[in-house]
């Protein structure tokens, strides 16, 4: 039973971790894109 629980935890940690990584990457990139487009517009 323990192994089943550990397997579940691993899967959701793995997938959840990847989704968090994607979300973080998106927010950082969106902020950078807005900054750069402002700079680009000003010049």
């Amino acid at each position: 039973m323990n192994y089943l629980f550990i397997a579940n935890v691993c899967i959701w940690l793995g997938v959840g971790g990847y989704v968090l990584f994607l979300a973080r990457q998106h927010s950082v990139l969106e902020r950078r894109v807005r900054q750069l487009e402002i700079i680009d517009g000003n010049e």
């Binding site: 397997a7 691993c10 793995g14 997938v15 990847y18 994607l22 998106h26 894109v33």
Partner: protein, 231 residues
Amino acid sequence: MFRIYPKILTILACISMALMAIGQYAIWFHAPEEMTMGLVQKIFYFHLPLAWWSFVAFFGVCAASVMVLWTGREQWDVLAGVLAEIGVLFSGLALVTGSLWGRAAWNTWWTWDPRLSTTLVMWFVYAGYLVLRSADVGGTKGAKVRAVLGIVAFLDVPLVFLSARLWRSIHPAVLASKGGGLEPEMWTAVWINVLAWGAMFGTLVLARYHGAGLKRRVEAALIGIQEKTLQ
């Protein structure tokens, strides 16, 4: 070309969540407990879809790599990278769950099962492929080099599987095959979970591809600013 409509992504994410929920119900309430292995057999309902979709991802890397060489367009290179990433994630999880299942059911952390062995080798191949991508091997012809790698990596799959099968046929099997036939309810649970993980796979691919598109926009904007500064 990198604009994935947010609506499509949202809809797909909702579909995958719904299917996952149905899949979980099917695993824990619909499918019966297996006679020999008991409750721990239910790892199978995660393990199988993860392994299958990882192979779909690896095939996708090969197909996208062929398109890179054929069309020369950069989206295919980006897609190949995204599919490799998710393939490595899914196959890694398939290996972990397979190992845990083996330990629980047959008291051994690793069985030289041909399918599991093939998955392990492919995990190494595509993890190496990802490292080479990030190290920017190939320089100016990077996309073509990566495409060649992506094709060569997948050509190896059947050969690895055959060699793993031949290898194990020499040794007596450590364990019996993955259990006898499955009950109809078990097959239902399998197929629902395959669909659910497929929707999840699609969502992750689209989301990551969107992120890669954003990254290219940032790089293009940076180059634009540098060129304007130099003028």
